[in-house]
Every structure is written in structure tokens, then in C-alpha cells.
């Protein structure tokens, strides 16, 4: 197990290096630089600015410099937010995004699994059709439309929740729902089809032949096996929730990491874009690792750490 995790960490480092390199060169390839919008800049000042941020160096020097700094968890200064470093932005923005993301994931899991289970148990009956209509709606309506509809109905019309901004728990409800709508629908469909598959298995018939009630069969025999695909979807789900939050945070005016990301792309704020990308990559790579470990705990047939050589 320890050996397995060690090996996985090594892969994570390798992936990170590839991601850093790719973003670094892609940024260089894009035309313009952080100071292009300020047209009137005299050439001397521009040269000074470039020199200050090290942009006058040859690319390999910049690249090496950046790699070294990232290794020390230093993503450099922001080009646009004066006197703020990328680390500052992450430190203030990430906790907000994390709360929002976790709330959305929890909501998506709870509602999605329940909907899926009901749909599967009442297969081809009205409960099934209702759950699947909700699911299709959830998948087809983009989160930003969901967000505006929620804002209009629940905040403006009925005034139950604040329209936007960040502060209390009430502020988190609407963005979390908007963020969770697509994953909820996806999890519901995934749970349903996986439940149906498990229900057709012989061991469910065995459980029924034992005289167990439908409830017990669902809890003890069906659900655990049916949740395996849902668990493996958790990796991409955290990716989805995090990328989804770019837009949602903008709409609700939430000072999370996502909104910094969107703004910095418009500003060509190289260091912020790269820093946030690297940071997100780290989160994603670790959540995938976590999912794999979780998978091994749920399904005893999967033994982590046994190499292909057949230990």
C-alpha cells in the first residue's frame, strides 16, 4: 500500500511537470503580453516592466526560473493585481471555492444517488420516469442558465436567498445548487443504470431467495456494488465542479479562485493563470488518487499495490 502510494506520488509529480511545461509554453505562444493593453507605454518603461518580471530573459531561463520557484511553492507575483502574489490569491480564494465545491459535491452525491436508487427500484414506473426527466433536464440545462433561473425565482421573486455575493451560509445555497445540477443528474443516471445492472445479477436473486426484504437487499447487497462506478466518477466530478465554478463564481460574484482565473485570462496575467492551473492540477491529481484508494476499500477484488508481475 505504502509502496503503491509512493509510486502514484511519483506519477503525480511527473504529470505536474508535464502540465507546468505545457501551460508555460502555451502561454508564450499566445500573442501579446500582460502589458499590451496599455498601448501608450513608452518603450523605456515597458522594458523596465519586462525586466522587473524577468520577461526579458530568454525562454529557457524563464522556464527554469519558474520551475524552481514552483518547487518552493512560490507562484510569483501577479502582473495585474499590484502588490499581490499568486500565493495570496490562492490563499484567499481557495477556501471559498473549496466550501462551494464540497457543498456542491455533497448535494450532487446525496440527491443523485437517492434519485438513481428510486428510479432503479421502480424501473419503468412513474417514479423512474420522473427521476429520469429531472436527470435529463439537469444534464441539458447548462449551469449558468440554471444559476440565472435560480437567482430570478428564488432570490428576486421570492427573496428566500441573497442574489449574489459571499458571506453567510445562505449565500452558498444558490451557487451550490447551480453547480450541483449537472453532476446530480449525471450521478442519478449512473446510479440507476448501475443499480439495474447489479439487480440483474445472480447474487441479488440469492439474496431474495434468502428471504431478505427489498430494503435489506438494496442496502446490503445492491447499493455497495452499484456505487462503484459512482465512486470512479468522483474524480472527474471534482474536476467538473471546479471548472464549473469558474462560471458560477463569476455569476454570483463570489471571490473564489475561479473568478480570479477567468479574470486573469482576459488580463493575460501569466503568473496567475499558470499558478491557478498548477494548483488545480494538484487538487485533481490528488482527488483521483483518493478515488482509487477509496475504490480499493469498497471493492475487495481490487488490491492496491500489487504489481502486474503478480505478487
Amino acid at each position: 500500500m505504502v509502496k503503491y502510494i509512493g509510486r502514484r506520488l511519483l506519477y503525480i509529480l511527473l504529470s505536474l511537470w508535464l502540465i507546468i511545461t505545457a501551460t508555460f509554453f502555451l502561454m508564450r505562444l499566445a500573442p501579446g503580453n500582460p502589458f499590451t493593453s496599455e498601448k501608450q507605454l513608452p518603450p523605456e518603461i515597458k522594458a523596465n516592466l519586462l525586466a522587473h518580471y524577468g520577461l526579458d530573459q530568454p525562454w529557457y531561463a524563464q522556464y527554469g526560473d519558474y520551475l524552481l520557484k514552483v518547487l518552493q511553492w512560490d507562484f510569483g507575483p501577479s502582473f495585474k493585481y499590484k502588490s499581490q502574489t499568486v500565493n495570496d490569491l490562492i490563499n484567499t480564494g481557495f477556501p471559498v471555492s473549496l466550501v462551494l465545491g464540497l457543498e456542491a459535491i455533497f448535494l450532487a452525491l446525496a440527491v443523485g444517488v437517492i434519485l438513481g436508487v428510486i428510479a432503479a427500484l421502480k424501473h419503468n414506473r412513474w417514479q423512474d420516469y420522473t427521476a429520469m426527466i429531472i436527470a435529463v433536464a439537469g444534464i441539458s440545462v447548462p449551469s449558468f442558465i440554471m444559476a440565472t433561473v435560480l437567482q430570478y425565482v428564488l432570490a428576486i421573486k421570492f427573496g428566500i436567498f441573497p442574489v449574489a455575493r459571499w458571506g453567510t451560509f445562505m449565500h452558498t445555497v444558490l451557487p451550490a445548487i447551480a453547480l450541483a445540477s449537472t453532476p446530480t443528474a449525471f450521478i442519478a443516471r449512473l446510479t440507476r443504470s448501475s443499480m439495474l445492472e447489479v439487480l440483474s445479477n445472480d447474487y441479488i436473486k440469492t439474496a431474495k431467495a434468502k428471504g431478505l426484504s427489498e430494503f435489506m437487499i438494496t442496502i446490503k447487497h445492491t447499493l455497495r456494488n452499484a456505487l462503484l462506478p459512482v465512486v470512479s466518477y468522483m474524480g472527474p466530478l471534482s474536476a467538473g465542479v471546479i471548472t464549473g465554478s469558474f462560471v458560477i463564481e463569476r455569476i454570483f460574484g463570489i471571490p473564489g479562485l475561479g473568478s480570479h482565473f477567468v479574470v486573469s485570462i482576459g488580463n493575460r496575467d501569466y503568473t496567475v493563470i499558470m499558478g491557478v492551473t498548477v494548483f488545480y492540477s494538484i487538487i485533481l491529481l490528488f482527488s483521483v488518487l483518493l478515488v482509487d484508494i477509496l475504490y480499493g476499500l469498497i471493492d475487495p477484488r481490487i488490491k492496491l499495490g500489487r504489481g502486474k508481475k503478480g505478487a
Partner: protein, 355 residues
Amino acid sequence: MEKLLEVKDLCVSFGTHGGEVQAVRGISFDLYKGETLAIVGESGSGKSVASQTIMKLIPMPPGKITNGEILFDGDDLVKKTDKQMEKVRGKDISMIFQDPMTSLNPTMKIGPQIMEVLKKHQKLSGSVAKERTIELLRLVGIPMPEKRINQYAHEFSGGMRQRAMIAIALAANPRLLIADEPTTALDVTIQSQILELIKDLQQKIGMSVIFITHDLGVVANVADRVAVMYAGQIVEVGTVDEIFYDPRHPYTWGLLASMPSLDMTDKAELLDIPGTPPDLTNPPKGDAFAPRNRYALAIDFEEEPPMFQVSETHYAKTWLLHPDAPKVELPEQVKRRVRKLAASFDKPVLAEGEA
């Protein structure tokens, strides 16, 4: 002998997109206490559906019991609700399935899978149930049961899994065990071990067994009586001797003639039954076996044959037993085994709707 189970004119059908499939079309049979009845027939003959209907394990819908009674100890199981059936399943009637690879839960340890039954039906507490589980595993011949209860199904071999399934089935001392092709997925040496185990435990516990198989070798080994099913009906039923040494139905002849035996000469060929079973969405008029039957009479295509009684225990559903039917030459492979059985009537008589 006392009857444990009486199935009367049972009909089961399944609603599908292509129409209603009549999987079981009016079967009747009795099962006595302590007896083993084998139900044989090819795939799709309705033998599995019939047996799963006894426990009401077929999914309803799309499955439906359209007619008949299943009297277990005098109680009609057809009328019971699902909640009432939970008290019968696993306690009075248990079942083991064909494929031990898939009939155990892969993410649950073997011990708890057996303990579930004990907790449900015998209301045993955790530690007592565990003791009893170890005892059961030892009974079915699983070595080191204390260690085995903490293992998962994938850590068991096929034969060991089937033993564990038998332990689950026998946990609450059922009065009827339905074994649905329990040895089909196992290799031959393991097969005979499992058959011996079932026979042995049957004697210890004194339960009745319904043994579903398409392997006539297995039938000869375990059964007291045999029912031959074709296209959702029982076409012949009798004691093992009657079915093996004095078969009367052409379908049974076909089955026997297609079974290899050790004393066969090199020249003797196995006979196959040509064609495939009929589509039970629209069961054919007359005898369902007629199109594949080389002995078919003209009337077979017109009218369904009634059940004829050949002896006290032997019934067959074929027009060939009618007094006016022509004498036919049996297939060579069957002729060699046929002998005159003392219990047979002089002439077959029409059965009174009972089999």
C-alpha cells in the same frame, strides 16, 4: 408417503415487446417428503422458470402466474404476497443456482452472507450465528471455516463457492431445496463431489429436493423421479427406472439417444434431436414437439395429446400411447436399454388430469 409440494396446472408467462411468452404452460406435479425429483429438458423448456416460480423469484412484472396453484404443505404460495413469501424463502424453501461464480455477493465476506439467513429466520444473535456459520461451512466440507468466513467470494474456488452456496441454502434447515443446475458450471470431478454432498445432506436433514438439470448422467445419480419438460410442459414423468429403461415419449427417446454411455461401441452414433424448440409467444397447434419429432403422427399437428398413464407412477403425453396409434420402432440407442418393468400396466390408460 406424504406430499410436501403439489403443483397444479401452473401457467407462467412473461410480457415482452414481442408479445406474451408462455414459458410454463400448465404443469402439474407432486413432490413427496424426502424425495428427489429431477426436472430435465433443454434450454428454454421452462424448467428454471417453473422452479423459480415455486419460490416466486421470477420478476413480476414482466412475469405473471396466469393460472394454477402451488400448494406447499397445503398452503397456496401463488396467493401469498411478497412480504409473506419472505418468511418462506430461505426458511422452508431454498435454492442454489447454476453459477457459483456470480451467485455470491462479490463485496461481502462469505460469513455475513450465511449469517444473514440465520439472523433473518432463526433470529440468532451475532456470536451464535457466527458459531453456527462455522459449523455449516464445516458441514459442507469447507476446510478452515474460521478463516474462510472472513474471506470474499473471489478467494474461493468454484467448487468451494458452490459449497458456500449450499451452506447458505441449508442454513435455516429448509424442507425443500431447489437446485437449479448446481453442477453445470463446475468441472466433472467437482460435480460429483457436489452431488454427493447434496445427497448426503439431504439424508441428514430429511429435505426434499427438486433438481433441475439437462444432464441425464446427473439425473441417474441423484433422482428418485424424473419429469421431462418440453416447451413449457411436462411431457413425461416417472421413476428414474421408468424414464431410463422404459421411456414412452419420443422427446425422452431423443434425450436418451443423444446421451453418450461407456458401453457404446465405436460404430454407434449419438442421435440428435433436429431443429429448435418452438417460439412460446405463439405455441404451435397440437403437440409442440411434433415438428421435430420423427415419429409424429398426423394428429400431432392437429390436437394436443392428453396425458397417458403407463404405470402407477409413470405418465407420458404422447399420442403414440393411444390404442389406435401405430407401433413404432424405437431408436437403436434407446432400444438397447429398454426392458420390461414389472410395475407397468398392460396397456396405457388415459390419465385423469393428474400427473
